[in-house]
Amino acid sequence: MDSRVLQTWELSLWRGTEEGRFASYQVPCRERQTVLDVVTYVQRHIDASVSYRFACRVGMCGSCAMTVNGVPRWTCRTRIAEVAQGNRIAIAPLSHLPVIKDLVCDMSVFFEKWTTAGGAFVPTPGATDNFAHIPPDHAARRAADAAIECIGCGVCYAGCDVVGWRPEYLGPAALNRAWTLVNDARDGAGAERIAAVAGDAGCHACHSQQNCTRHCPKHLNPAASIAGLKRRAAAALWRGGS
């Protein structure tokens, strides 16, 4: 798709809350335009009442995720020419989260689940007395490293069918976070965290469909993290734990 040969994008933007409709806008094509640029154009030049979120514009803050032509994506680093169907593009808020207005979702449930899944670091007694010695090639360290770069964008959560089927499911991002802490030698809440994620709405609800892994803009693999939690939970059960 070469954006230079196109004149305008035919944009459908979600307007309203849960109840709402797609409104049409025409936005001039520019080279290397991102999806976020196009939404910003609408707000600055066509209709100032369009609500959407962004902060960093460089893929660090995780606030700009939207559903772009049916697929959850970070919009600040998605070139519109790569995802448009011809010159048509439909932009909606993320799925599985309450819509506050237009493209803005209420992320509270998403982050509450991080807390429920034991997402807070709990230092072992004495952990602050000295530096922990964790060799860079240690297996647990590498497992944590592979999952640590999450920006909390909610793309995986919006893409996961199980979240759609069972709204109480903790979801890929919260479980992925729990997995990084389970592998953190300085953390002292391992058993509690495994108990927190091993419930009905926890890691065992995942069917390894891997939509999360497919769509994560940071190329993380939440499905692999969840499989890791399943093994730990099974091992805890085997040892007669919770």
Binding site: N69, G70, R88, G159, N211
Partner: protein, 114 residues
């Protein structure tokens, strides 16, 4: 546009493997009882059963059931390997193996029938 997009968001091999596993699981749950029931009816006399079991329709239905079972069994083994062994990125190979073995088993079964 949206139906197509919903498909697009899920069009990857692991999702296909999941769908195949679910469909074969549900189909097994539906057809296995029928299979046992019909078997029980037909087995009342052994001779009648043997004649009955050689009807082409019955043979194809049985081959279908074997394919479903093989698909579901290998698909289930794939899930177990994926989740209970340390994660590796050879899942696509696992899907292919699971499909291939299933087809193989069903074919051997059909050849045996003739």
């Amino acid at each position: 546009m949206f139906a197509a997009s919903r498909f697009h968001a899920r069009n990857h091999s692991n999702y296909w493997a999941f769908m195949l596993h679910r469909i074969s699981g549900v189909a097994l749950a539906l057809f296995l009882p029928v299979h046992f029931w019909v078997l029980a009816l037909a087995a009342k006399s052994l001779n009648g059963f043997l004649v009955w079991a050689h009807q082409p329709l019955v043979e194809y239905a049985e081959a279908g059931l074997v394919l479903l079972l093989a698909l579901h069994l290998t698909g289930g083994l794939r899930v177990l390997v994926l989740e209970f062994l340390p994660w590796h990125n050879w899942q696509k190979t696992a899907i292919a193996i699971s499909g291939g073995v299933s087809l193989g088993v069903a074919l051997v079964f059909m050849l045996n029938l003739t």
